[in-house]
Each structure stands twice: as C-alpha cells, then as structure tokens.
C-alpha cells in the first residue's frame, strides 16, 4: 500500500509541471505585448512600462519562468495588479464559500444519485428508469445558470421561501448559512446527479448480471440486502472514478453558480480577475484549481484501491 501511495504521489509531479508551464505560458501565447493586454485599452505608455517591470517581462523567458516557479514553490503567488494584495491572501479569503458550495453539491449528489441509479437499474426499462434517464438527458442539456435562474424565479421570487442571492458564512449560524446555500447547491447538483445516476445505473446493471448475484438470489437473499450488500460495493468503483473526473466540471459549474447567486467565492474572484485582466490572480487561481483537481484524483485513486484491491497490482 505504501509503495502504491508513493507511486501515485510521484505520478502527480509531471502533471503539475505541465500545468505550471501552461499557466506560465498563457500570458505569452496571445498576440502582441502581454503588458499592453493587461493594461487594457486606455493605458498610457507609462502604465504599460510599469506593468512590464512589475511582472519582470523585461527578463529573458527562461529567467522569468525560473523566478516565477521558485516563488510559487515557496507559496508566493505574486501580487494582484488590481488590489495590490498578495494573491495567496485573496484566494484564502474566498475559499470558504466555494468549499461550502462544492461539498454541499457532492453530498447532495451522492445522496440523491446513487439510490436513484440503483433503483433505475433494479427496474431497468420500467417507467421509473425511463423517467430518470429522460430527466438525466435533459439535465445535461440545460446550462447551470438557466437552472439557477429558474430556481430563483420559483422559490425565491414567486414563493418567497428562500433568499434570492448572497452568502452567509457558517460563523453567522447554521440556519442562514444553509438557507443561502440551498438554491445554489441544488442548481449545481442537477448535472452531477444526472451524471452519477447514469454511471451508477450502468454499473449496477453490469454487476446484477454476474453469476454470484444469481447464486445469492437463489439462496433466498432479500432484494434490499442483495442490492446493498452484494451489488453496491463493486458497482461503486466506476462511480468513484467519475467523481474524480467530474471535479473539472465542478470548477466550471462553481464559477457560473457563484455569479448567478452572487456568492463571493473563488469563482467570482476568477470572473472578476478575468474581466480586470488581473493576470497574477488568474494564474494563481488556475494553479490552485488544477492542484485541487490532481489532489482529488489522487484521493479517488486511493479510494479506488480500497474498494477494489486488485488495482494495486
């Protein structure tokens, strides 16, 4: 197990190295002078020179990269052009809402999607299965912000049950925290419930075709026990993998959902930074999100090997 863990850890190094190079090169990929791009349309030559100097753009490319990567490795993500605050501090301030939204979505998705997928597989071809799979196809087709606005329209404006927008930190109490989080979490969960329910259904269907399930059924094991004890655990392996893959999708969803519901998290910070062309912040955010993706997939790999020990070989 230690060997497996070490091997997986080492495998993340080249991936993060590529991410770092891509993030560094982003600024230099576009046409023209990057300092002019950041400065915007109304900049004076002095502004452009100041930005070029500040980002070290006068140095040769490899020197710029080595300086930058050295700072990143010591936890220094640079200084925001817009607010003059350290990027690491800006990101740290915005982590809580995004974590709350993501974890809430993960919990709601698993709690809803896994039982739905199992039920659909158990009665494959029946009305429940057809409705669920039809609903899943629809959930894939509607962008998250449209779902968000429909929810706001129905539950906040027409029924006045929940707040329209905004965020309350957990420190303000659990009830306002959850009330503000409810609609964004539900909106963001739609597509993931569709995804995970489909994968669970396919996976359970496959397991239900196995010989040992037939044996267990012949032995007189009850339906519920059969699904829970015999079918669910092997069926969860692909589900866990998909959760890892879905993380990249989740980041995109978080960015949009935070904009719809006016939540001051990392997603809003991303959009604001892009619109202000605050390049050091964009770089820092992409690095942090990518590292989180790689870390999530590391955890998924480990979970995977717990669920199915054959994978360690």
């Amino acid at each position: 197990m230690t060997g497996f863990l070490l091997q997986r850890l080492l495998a993340t190094i080249p991936v993060m190295a590529v991410v770092a190079v891509v993030v560094f090169l982003l600024l230099h990929l576009g046409p023209g002078d990057p300092a002019a791009v950041i400065a915007g349309d109304y900049a004076t030559p002095e502004d452009i020179e100041r930005i070029r100097d500040r980002l070290g753009l006068n140095e040769p490319l490899h020197v710029q990269f080595l300086t930058w990567i050295g700072q990143v490795l010591t936890g220094d993500l640079g200084i925001s052009i817009f607010s003059n605050l350290p990027v690491a501090q800006l990101i740290a301030q915005r982590v809580e809402p995004t974590l709350a939204l993501s974890i809430g979505t993960l919990i709601l998705t698993v709690v809803v999607a896994v039982p739905l997928g199992v039920a659909a597989a158990w009665r494959a071809g029946g009305w429940l299965d057809r409705c669920l799979m039809g609903g899943a196809a629809l959930a894939f087709a509607v962008p998250v912000f449209v779902i968000g606005y429909i929810l706001i329209y129905v539950f906040a404006i027409k029924l006045s049950l929940l707040p329209v927008q905004g965020y309350r930190p957990l420190a303000d109490g659990a009830v306002p925290f959850l009330r503000h989080l409810a609609l964004p979490v539900v909106a963001l969960s739609f597509v993931f419930i569709a995804l995970i329910a489909r994968v669970t259904r396919a996976s359970v269907l496959e397991v239900l075709g196995e010989d040992y399930i037939r044996t267990a059924r012949a032995k007189g094991v009850t339906t519920f026990r059969l699904l829970r004890r015999h079918a669910l655990r092997p069926a969860l392996v692909p589900v866990v993998t998909v959760i890892g893959i879905a993380f990249a999708l989740l980041v995109g969803g978080v960015v949009v959902t935070e904009s719809v519901f006016n939540i001051p998290g990392l997603g809003r910070l991303t959009v604001d930074s892009v619109l202000r062309r605050d390049y050091p912040v964009i770089q820092g955010l992409i690095l942090v999100f990518s590292a989180a993706y790689v870390f999530t997939n590391l955890i998924v790999d480990l979970l995977y090997s717990v669920l199915d020990p054959r994978i360690r070989e």
Binding site: P14, V15, M16, A17, V18, V19, V21, V22, V23, L26, L27, L29, G30, P31, P34, V37, A137, L138, F140, A141, V142, P143, V144, F145, V146, Y149, I150, I152, Y153, I157, L195, R198, V199, A202, V242, I245, A248, V251, G252, V255, V256, S259, T270, V271, V274, L275, R277, Y279, I282, L285, I286, F289, S290, Y293, V294
Partner: protein, 274 residues
Amino acid sequence: MNAIRRNRSVQIGMALLALVVVTAVLAPPIAGMDPLRMTPEDRLTSPVAAHPFGTDMFGRDILARTLHGGRISLSVGLMVAAVALAAGLGIGLVAGYVRGVDRIVMRVMDGIMAIPGILLAIALIALSGATLTTVVVAIAVPEVPRVVRLVRSVVLAVREEPYVEAAVAAGARLPRLLVRHVLPNTLAPLIVQGSYVCASAMIVESILGFLGAGMPPEVPSWGNVMAEGRTFFQIAPWILFFPGAFLAVTVLSVNLLGDGLRDTLDPRLRGRFQ
C-alpha cells in the same frame, strides 16, 4: 445505416435538430425582424403577438435574437468539434505510432486535462481578445486531450491486428498504413466523440457569454442574449428563458444523436464515453 435510422435516440435527435437548424437557417423570414433593430418605445415588452418572445431593454425582438443566435451557437459548436477532432486526430495518430513522442505527448495531455476547461477557455479569451476565432480555439483546446486519448487507444489496438502486421511485413510505409488501416477505424468513435464535443461547446459558449468573457457583446449569440437578460431577470425573465430553452433543445438533440450513433455504430463503444 438501417440500424442507425431505426434507432430511437437517432430519430428523436434528428427530428429536434432538424427543427432547430430550420429555424436558424430561415431566421430572417420567420422572425421578420432585424435582431439588432432597437425600438425604445417597446422596451421590455412581455410576449405578445407582435413580439412572441417579448423584447429586451433596448426593445430588440427576442424571437429574432433567439433564431439568429441559433446560427451563431450551431456554427460555434460545429467549428469547435471540427477543430478539436482535427487536432486530436493528428496528435493522437502520431502519439499512438511513434513511441518516443507518445510519453511526452501524453504527459502534456494529462497536464492540460488537469486544468479546468472553462478556466482555461476564459483565460485564453481574456488574453487574446474576444473574436469568433479565439472563442472557437479557446473552447476547443480543453477538448483536445480526450480526443487524443481516444485516437491513441484505437491506434494502439489496431497496430496489434494481424492484418496491420501483415501490411507492415509487406512493406507498407507509415503514412499509407495510417491512412489506409488506422484512420477508418478511428472514424466511428470520432463521430460519436465529435457530437459530444459539439454539444458541450454550445453549453460552454453560452457560459462564456453569460460571464461576459465570450463572443463580442454586440453578437447575438445565445450566451450573450441571456447575459443581457441577467440584470432585468426579475421583471423580464423571457429574455433569459427563450434562448435558454432553444439551447437546451439543441444540446439535447445533439446528445441524443451521439448516444444513438454510439449504440449503433459500434456496440463495443458502450461505456467508453460518459
């Protein structure tokens, strides 16, 4: 071909898609109005006979904007699919055949996959300026690694086939080998993958437009029309809902088409896509 035509998903997908394409192509006669014409006296009208989908804050007709938006969103979807497939096919063929290149290329692809696609796209657009070309390329780049992986896996499987080994033994050169034997095998999975890329590209375009980081704001793409509806959402929800519904139907139809093609073109492909 008959199996494809008989497939339920393909039938429904084709019918819906044909409907959307017809309304997009025939946008001028159906809408009967210029999507850019402002009529300030009619601003924020709710759906009535003269404006079946209502108007926006400048009095522009939402029906006209939605139908013309279809032209843009469908083109973006198709172009992104073409660009991502072409790039992925080229890189994947080389990676699958040339061992030394394979390792490096796949590491780079792993790295790109680790960067959330929408972030990469908005960063690329922000730094190179929002035009049709940059939007298409920016949406296509994050899709490339998946296509490369798919093509590479087909190449690796095909090169073990006896008939390919026979061709090698008979002295077939690499380019001929790739074009004659490998390319036809990648076609079916690529068409399926292409339909999914097209569907997701239309969603991403709308998200980019919605965030204000997509097409130039004067272009009436579905994303941009919906973005303009944000501010007036509480008093004029139709600005957002009608383009949203068209987008949903379009994406649904392309996905259904993809599912149907996947199941009929090559049953072995089941489970290889999400």
